[in-house]
């Protein structure tokens, strides 16, 4: 009975938007970055579906309309890059090397730690794109045979880690250059890290936004290549 009532696209759209707004409100009220609407929203939507016994397929109809906008949003990532082109050009090599070094370190450490702790291949592969922004990360995960939904959760954790440790890390490493701060946060903890970068200053925020885009594009090529090398050197995942 209930599944017939929700056999329309509006249901999925409404449920998603409402839970997102409530999630945003919770994050604002508590002031906790870790309570991202992606976390609270997911819990709310799953709870509603489970309690009302509505099947996932009915929800999916509307959900696909909402998630369609990831494509246009990803195209829009060109804008923060374009806006900061002047500063990027002046320090192009340093920025690219910093981003590349961070991304490669992230891939190697994640892979090695997964091997040490006996994490299975599905989760390991899904973890590789963890440092990039979710819109690009889920595409990469899909491309390399990972589970995009697992990748999304791990992306959130990488983001929150960067947000929490960022400031302390810069103090310990004695870094006060806004360019370095921005690129470090954007490269390794994407949008959530950029929120911290914006708190630190305007230039930090701008560089962090630009770094998200550059890191995302590099990772589209780097992750499949990394997997290829692992296959050649070690074994097939």
């Amino acid at each position: 009975m209930i599944n017939e009532l929700v056999q329309n696209t509006a249901f999925g759209v409404a449920l998603t938007v409402i839970c997102y707004e409530i999630g945003k409100w919770i994050q604002k009220k508590t002031g906790l970055k870790v309570l991202s609407p992606i976390l609270t929203g997911t819990i709310m939507i799953v709870s509603v579906l489970l309690i009302t016994n509505i099947n996932y397929e009915s929800y999916k109809q509307g959900a696909s309309i909402v998630s369609f906008f990831i494509g246009p949003a990803t195209v829009s990532f060109a804008i923060p890059l374009y806006k900061n082109l002047r500063i990027i050009k002046e320090n192009l090599l340093i920025i690219i090397l910093g981003i590349f070094g961070g991304l490669l370190t992230g891939l190697i450490t994640a892979f090695c730690l997964c091997m040490i702790f006996g994490i299975n291949n599905q989760v390991t592969i899904s973890m590789l794109p963890k440092s990039v922004t979710s819109a690009i990360g889920y595409v990469i995960s899909d491309m390399i045979g990972g589970r995009p939904e697992i990748t999304l959760v791990l992306i959130l954790i990488a983001g929150v880690t960067g947000y929490v440790v960022g400031e302390y890390l810069f103090k310990i490493l004695k870094i006060d250059n806004p360019l370095i701060k921005g690129v470090t946060l954007g490269t390794n903890s994407h949008v959530v890290g950029t929120a911290k970068a914006m708190e630190l200053g305007e230039k930090e925020g701008a560089m962090s936004s630009a770094a998200i885009t550059i890191a995302g594009v590099i990772m589209v090529f780097l992750v499949p290549l990394f997997l290829r090398i692992i296959e050649l050197l070690v074994f097939k995942l």
């Binding site: 929800y59 998630s67 370190t105 299975n120 090529f221």
Partner: protein
């Protein structure tokens, strides 16, 4: 706003054609991003023709991602109960990567001076 959106979504549509037509190994959305950047650089598109809609799209990106994460319900078993270890690995890996990015840039900037 709709006019601005039509530009973005048209670029995306063309990118899908390129991805499939040329059999490119790059996802269409990334091709679209690069196309838009090139068009901005060559002044085919001006910043104010797409800026407003981009701010909205990028500002609410979490909303668009949200439906995709619902699938996690079916994937919880894959973690084999090792949630904390997996989260720990992601955090440690992120911190080490941040240190590397920061130190590489610091070193190179000092050298440049």
């Amino acid at each position: 706003m709709i006019k601005q959106f039509s530009i973005i979504v048209s670029i995306l549509a063309i990118s899908y054609m390129l991805e499939i037509g040329l059999n490119l190994p790059i996802p269409a959305s990334i091709i679209g991003m690069l196309l838009l950047l090139i068009m901005l650089l060559t002044k085919i598109i001006k910043l104010d023709q797409v800026e407003k809609v981009s701010d909205v799209l990028l500002g609410e990106i979490t909303l668009f991602i949200l439906p995709l994460s619902i699938g996690i319900m079916d994937s919880l078993d894959l973690f084999e109960g090792k949630f904390l270890i997996v989260f720990f690995i992601v955090s440690i890996s992120t911190i080490i990567s941040m240190i590397v990015t920061a130190l590489i840039m610091k070193l190179l900037l000092n050298k440049a001076k």
